[in-house]
């Protein structure tokens, strides 16, 4: 199975991540586990963005919408479970991850389907702006929902339950995040290499030509957009659980920007690079924030250097040439 340098690099990364909690305990730095969980969750969202940004060439500036929606679905379901009162008098709340996480994925992908259906009628700068506008609408919608905390966000009393394991344990939660990320990466890896993936790449390269070949490109792009929304929704649902908090910050346009930075740092159209980008961005942030509030001052030049000199980002530097075929 392991044939390429890229696969070796990915497996090595997985091995490092698998022993990380053990290593963190060994050096007595338990907080590293919660930090690493946040990184994995952000990586999941960044990978989902790379699917449409890197492979589809769809510069969505509203990916935080699906991230935040995923978080709020978990938060709102837990809120109604606590109140013992059904949502709209119809949907009962739940504090079970096996219900809440799939619900978050479903709602986020439906939202992506709706937003994508309208946004994908445009392209280029218009697409960037319309996805941004939709995401801001979602942001202000949740800020105005006073029942669910408005500006302050929605606090959960505890993480969701999961049969057989205790998600309140940070190490257990870390492995849940790692499993979710690995599963989504495996899925995306097959996806981008499949016939569907070829069509998505073709749309990035030359959409007019795709139409001339007889492809109805809109449906393929919309499907990719919805799958990406589902991935971001799962990430958001995990973050809300991790922090026991769904906040409007998850929906803010700066979150969309952060996810884009992760993808670009790691290398667009590489999937695994987005994981690397998440590590670098959040790592730099926590490291430098200890010294200065102006950590962006360091990040900016790093980003510029990567864009100028590394064609496929950091992952390209590690894993070698493109496997675009």
């Amino acid at each position: 199975m392991v044939e390429t340098r890229e696969q070796r690099a990915a497996l090595l990364g997985l091995a490092v991540l698998a022993i990380l909690p053990w290593a963190a305990d060994a050096i007595g730095q338990g907080f590293v586990i919660t930090l690493a969980s946040r990184v994995l969750i952000n990586a999941l969202a960044a990978v989902s963005l790379d699917l449409i940004l890197g492979f589809g060439g769809l510069v969505s500036f509203g990916h935080a919408a699906f991230f935040g929606i995923g978080g709020y679905v978990v938060g709102i379901l837990a809120f109604h479970a606590g109140e013992g009162e059904a949502l709209f008098g119809l949907v009962p709340g739940t504090d079970q991850a096996l219900i809440a996480l799939p619900a978050a994925v479903a709602v986020a992908s439906l939202a992506a389907l709706a937003i994508g259906a309208l946004s994908l009628r445009t392209s280029g700068v218009h697409f960037i702006m319309i996805t941004l506008a939709f995401a801001q609408m979602v942001y202000f919608l949740f800020v105005s929902l006073k029942t669910y905390g408005g500006d302050d966000g929605l606090i959960m009393s505890r993480r969701d339950g999961f049969p057989g394991i205790d998600l309140r344990d940070n190490t257990v939660f870390y492995y849940l995040c790692l499993a979710a990320l690995a599963a989504f990466l495996a899925l995306c890896d097959r996806l981008v290499g499949s016939r569907f993936g070829m069509v998505i790449r073709g749309c990035r390269e030359n959409e007019r030509r795709m139409a001339a070949l007889g492809y109805a490109t809109y449906g393929y792009k919309l499907t990719a957009f919805a799958i990406a929304g589902a991935g971001a929704g799962l990430a958001g649902a995990l973050l809300a659980n991790h922090d026991k908090f769904a906040s409007p910050d998850m929906l803010h346009w700066t979150k969309s920007g952060e996810l884009m930075v992760m993808v670009i740092l790691g290398g667009m159209g590489t999937l695994y690079g987005a994981v690397l980008g998440a590590f670098l961005l959040i790592g730099l942030e926590s490291l430098l924030a200890a010294f200065t509030d102006h950590w962006m001052f360091v990040l900016g030049p790093v980003l510029i250097l990567v864009i100028l000199f590394a064609d496929r980002g950091l992952w390209g530097a590690l894993a070698g040439a493109s496997r675009d075929g």
């Binding site: 290499g193 790449r201 030509r209």
Partner: protein
Amino acid sequence: MAEALLAVEGLTKRFGGLAATDRASLQVEEGTIHALIGPNGAGKSTLIAEIAGEIEPDAGRIRFAGQDITALPVAQRVKRGLVRSYQITSIFPGLSALGNVAIAVQATQGNSYRFWSRARRDPRLLDPARALLEEFGLGPRAAIRAADLAHGEQRQLELAMALATGPRLLLLDEPMAGMGAEESAAIVEALGRLKGRITMLLVEHDMDAVFALANRITVMVYGRPIASGDAAAIRANPEVRAAYLGEGDA
């Protein structure tokens, strides 16, 4: 006589005050290479785009294989076998030469909502794609990124892609544009080999190529075909000579 494979009747397209296509009529018989010539700005590319479905005409009808396709979108026309290539090379620059043709082959094999099996290991895509690359002399270049191919090779690739879709009628808009003599000769040879197998409507400025390939030639000036006939008839036509001399461009 049976109806022509492609029949254009009274096609008109106005851009503001300018009639880019002016009540144009044209018939392309199955199995022929039909050349469309005329001075720059005569509306050849516009006519091709209308036939391909990229530009909607203001009036007139287009019939293909006995059916009215005037209102059909591009993808539907392609499915019926009406396929075009571009004057400006239109390929997928970031994909390999093989990948370019494979994506064209894939378009003929039903919908692509297939998410799991690896397209780059699928012989149903790769075998026909390799065969087409061989036919156009690109076999050894299969793994090269299309962006890194020479200009002439990119044009060859473009033709291979157009053929991969299994066309009944190929619309070729200046397939030899910007090519050296040697590269042009290779294209003429490749098209010559396809003659009789695939019907072509060819827009081309290179008169040697046109006279070498075409069974029938239509001359277009100011959006209207002014003459149609075989090579000898067109050479002798005084109207054609006047139009060309008047424009000072061939």
